[in-house]
Chain length 353, copies 3
C-alpha cells in the first residue's frame, strides 16, 4: 500500500504552509484533471488555473500569493521544486540491485567501484573505470579507457567511444552516443579527406543527457559539457564545443563545432548555433532560432539569424502584414502621382496665365 | 520464381478496371523509370507524368480520369491504396519463425503470448506481457512492467522504459526509445533540480514509429500516442503530450511538453509545436514551421511563428522583395520632398506676388 | 613514448616548406591555446589569428601567404589537409585485432572475408557478406542479405535492415539505422494504410555516416548514398532519395522522399529539402533553410523557403528594420495628407480669387 502523509507533515518537509485543514492525508500527487479525492494536486503554471474548478484533489500545492478560495492549499516558496520533492517522496526509485550480469562482457583490466550494476549484454572494454554505484544498462558499450563517476547511470543502449569521461551523479538516457567522430573533412579538388578526430568528450558532474542525443569528440582536445547542464532528446553537440555549467538544451537543438556556450545558457527546442562562436553566459535562444554570431551576456535572441527577441517579435508582427504594407505603399505612390500632376498643371496654368 | 498475375486478376482483387488487354501478366510493381516489360508501373503523383513517355512497363496503375493514350491501364478509385495492396501481393513479408532465442534473457515473471518471437540478446524484464505473435527484435530492451499487444513488432534495438504500454498491430523501428524521462527541472538560484518523471507512455493500436524517434514518459500521467498515428524518424514527443488518433508526424518534427494534438493532425518535416498548447483536430503544419499558439480545427499554418498558410505565403513572397519595397519607399519620400518644396515655393511665390 | 619528428621531416612528408629552424622536433599537434612547447599548432581559420600571440607552440602550420613574424612556420599548400595527415601520423588508430567474438551470433550462411572483426553481441543474419577487413562493432544487428565492402566499419550499435548494401572503406557510426521503412501511407477516409517499403538502401564507397542518423529504404527501388558523401549526426534521408557523390550533409539536416540531390551538394546544419525535388550538382543550402523547389547547378540558397542567398541576406537585413519601414510609411502618408490639403486649399483659394 502506498504511503500517505498529512498536509502538515508535507509542509514541514518542504518548509511550506497549509491554508486549511492540515490533517488531511494524501497518498500521491496528480494533475488537476487526474487527481482523486485522496491526492494532492498543484498549480505551478497559470495556464491551468481553469482546471482548479473541476478538480477532485484533496488539496493544491501553490506558490506564495496564489489564492484559490474554498480550496485547501499547500503553499511553498518554490512550488515547482516542492513538486519535485513530493514526487521523490511518493515515487521512490526501485531499489538498486548491485551486481554484474553474467551476460555482460567486462574486460579484466576494467576497474569496478563498489556496488556497480552492469546489465546483460553490456560490453566494458579495457581500462574502463566505473565509480562506486555506477550503473551500466543492458546493451551499453563502453569502449576502452572510459570513465564513469560515482552514482552515474547509463540507461540501456548507450554507446561511449574510447576515452569518454563522465563525472558523478550523471544520467545518460538510452540511445545516447558520446564521443563519435566530429564532422571534419579537408576538401581538396572536390574530394573529402577525413581529419582524424583525436580528441575526446568530457561530461562533468550532475549532467543529464536525453535519449538519442549525440556529443562528438573533439578533433583535438575536448568537447566539454559543463556541470549540471541538462540536455534533452535528439540534441547534437558537435566536436570541440564547450557548454558552460548549468546550460539547458531543449530537444532537437544543436551546437556546431568549436562554439563556446557560457554558463546557464538556454537553447529552446529545435534551435541551433553555428560553429566557432562565443555565446556568453545566460544567453537565451528562442525555439527554432539560429545563432549565427557571437552573443553578449544575457542576450535573449530569436529568429534566423537570431537577433534581439523584442526586435524580432516586432518585425515578425509586421512581417505578416507585409501584403498590407505593400498595398499601402502602392496607394501612396498613386496619390503622389496625382498630386504631382496637379501641382505640375497648376504651374503650367500659372505659366500660361 | 515470382508469382505473376493477369491485369484482370489484379483488377478483380482491387475492385478496379483494365483499359486495354486484361490478359497481360505482370510479376511485380516498379517505378516508371525502373519497370521492365513484365512489370506494372503506376502514376499516382502528377509530377512524374513525363516519365510515362519512356517507360517499358506492361501497364500503368492510375486513378479515375487519368488518360494515357496508347497505354494499358489498371484504373483504381484509390490508386495509392491499390499500390499498397499490390506491393503486399508481390512482396509478402518473410514467414515469421516463432520462438525465443536462447541468447535472449527473459524474466521468469514475463508472460509470453502464443507464437511470440524474441531475438538474440534481447532483454525482457519482470512482469512484461507480450501479446500473441508479438515480435521483439535482436538487442531490444523491455524494462519491467511493459506490455505489447498482439502482432506488435519491435525491430532490433528498441528500448522501452518501465511500464510502457503498446497496443496491437504496432510497428516500432530500430533505435526508438519510449518512456525516457521527460525534460523537467525546477530551477532555483541557478541550480536545476530534477523533477522525477513518474508517468508513462501509452501507444495505442496500429501506430508506427520511425527509426530513432523518442517519446518521453509523462512527468505525471501518460504521454499518449493515439490509434493509427504514424510517426516518422527522429521525431521527438515530449512528456505529457497527447497525440490524437490518426495523426501524421513527418521526420525530425517535435511536440513539446503537455501539448494536446487533435485527431488527424499533420506535422510536416522539421516542424514543431511549443508546450502546453491545444492543437485542434485536422491541423496541418507546414514543413519547418513552429506552432506557438493554440490552433483551431482544420487550421493550415506555416511560418515561425506559424500563421495562416495563405497569409504566410503572401508575406513570404513580399519578404524577398523587401529591398525593392524599401527603395520604393525611399524614392517615394524623395518625390514627396521635391513636391513639398515646389508647393512651398509656389506659396512663397504667391505670397511674394 | 610518443614518436617525434623534425619540421624538416614533416615538410618532406607533406610536400611543404619550413620558415625558420627545420630541425625543431615536435611530438604532437594541438590547438593554439593548448599546444605545449614541444608541439606543432596550426592556423587554418583566420578567426583564431588572435590566439597566435599567446601560443607556446614550437611552430605553426599555415597556408601559403600567411605571415606570422617571429614564428617558425610549416607552410603547406592545403594546410587543413596537411593537418589531417599530421593527425594520422601522430595518432595512428589502434591495431585491429581480427576475429569473431564467441559472443556474436553469426548465421552459418554468412560469408566472412579475411580478417573481419565481429564484436560481442553482434548479430549477423543469413546470407550476409562481409568484405575483407570489415568490422562489425559490438551489438550491431545485420539483417539477412546485407553486404559490407572491404575495410568498412560499423561502430557499436548500428542496425542494418535486410538487403542493405554498403561499399568499401565506409565508416558508419553508432546508432545509425539503415534501411528502416520509409514513411509511406495511403490515406483513405481518414485511415492510413501502410504502403509496403519493398526497396533497399545502397551506400557507395568511402561514405561516412554520423551517429544516430537514419537512411530509409526505398518504397520501390533504392535509396542511394553516392560515393564519398559525408553525413553528420542525426540526419534523416528519406525513402527513394538519391544523394550524389561527394555531398556533405551537416547535423540534423534532412532530405524528404524521392528527392534527387546532385554531386558535391552541401546542406548546412538543420537544413532540409522537401520531397520529389531535383537539386542540381553543387547546390549549397544554408543552415536552417528549407529547399522547397528544384535548384539549378551551383545555387547557393537560404531561407524558408530557400531563395538566392544574397537576396535572402538583403531581405533579412531589412526584415529586422520592418518596424522602422512601417513607421516611415506612416509618416510619409501623413506628409502626403498635409500636402494634399495644402494643394487643395490653394486650388480652392485660386478658384475663390
Amino acid at each position: 500500500m502506498a504511503a500517505n502523509y498529512s498536509l502538515d507533515e508535507l509542509a514541514e518537509r518542504l518548509g511550506g504552509q497549509v491554508v486549511g485543514d492540515g490533517s488531511i492525508r494524501v497518498d500521491d500527487v496528480a494533475t488537476l484533471d487526474q487527481a482523486g479525492a485522496e491526492q494532492l494536486s498543484f498549480l505551478t503554471n497559470a495556464k491551468y488555473r481553469a482546471a482548479v474548478e473541476g478538480t477532485r484533489a484533496a488539496a493544491i500545492l501553490v506558490g506564495p500569493g496564489t489564492e484559490l478560495p474554498g480550496r485547501t492549499l499547500l503553499v511553498a516558496s518554490e512550488p515547482y521544486l516542492a513538486l519535485a520533492r513530493l514526487l521523490e517522496l511518493f515515487h521512490p526509485p526501485p531499489a538498486r540491485r548491485p551486481g554484474v550480469s553474467p551476460d555482460a562482457r567486462v574486460a579484466a583490466s576494467a576497474v569496478l567501484g563498489a556496488d556497480v550494476v552492469i546489465g546483460p549484454f553490456a560490453v566494458v572494454e579495457d581500462d574502463v573505470r566505473l565509480g562506486d554505484r555506477a550503473t551500466v544498462g543492458a546493451g551499453c558499450v563502453i569502449a576502452r579507457d572510459c570513465e564513469l563517476g560515482e552514482d552515474t547511470e547509463l540507461r540501456p543502449g548507450v554507446v561511449l567511444y574510447p576515452s569518454t569521461r563522465i563525472g558523478s551523479r550523471c544520467l545518460i538516457h538510452s540511445g545516447v552516443v558520446l564521443g563519435a567522430d566530429g564532422f571534419g573533412f579537408a576538401t581538396v579538388d572536390g574530394e573529402h579527406h577525413k581529419v582524424p578526430q583525436t580528441g575526446s568528450v568530457a561530461v562533468e558532474d550532475e549532467v543529464e543527457i536525453g535519449a538519442n542525443s549525440t556529443v562528438d569528440r573533439g578533433a583535438l582536445g575536448q568537447t566539454r559539457i559543463g556541470r549540471c547542464s541538462k540536455i534533452d532528446n535528439l540534441v547534437m553537440i558537435a566536436h570541440g564545443v564547450t557548454l558552460g555549467d548549468g546550460s539547458l538544451l531543449a530537444a532537437q537543438s544543436g551546437i556546431a563545432g568549436s562554439t563556446r556556450v557560457g554558463k546557464r545558457a538556454v537553447f529552446a527546442g529545435q534551435s541551433g548555433a553555428a560553429g566557432h562562436l562565443e555565446i556568453a553566459d545566460g544567453t537565451v535562444v528562442a525555439a527554432k532560432s539560429a545563432v549565427l554570431q557571437d552573443q553578449e551576456q544575457g542576450a535573449f535572441v530569436a529568429g534566423i539569424p537570431a537577433i534581439d527577441h523584442r526586435t524580432w517579435k516586432r518585425a515578425q508582427a509586421i512581417s505578416r502584414r507585409l501584403p498590407e504594407l505593400w498595398s499601402e505603399l502602392r496607394e501612396t505612390k498613386a496619390r503622389l502621382d496625382r498630386l504631382e500632376r496637379m501641382v505640375a498643371n497648376e504651374d503650367a496654368g500659372e505659366d500660361a496665365e
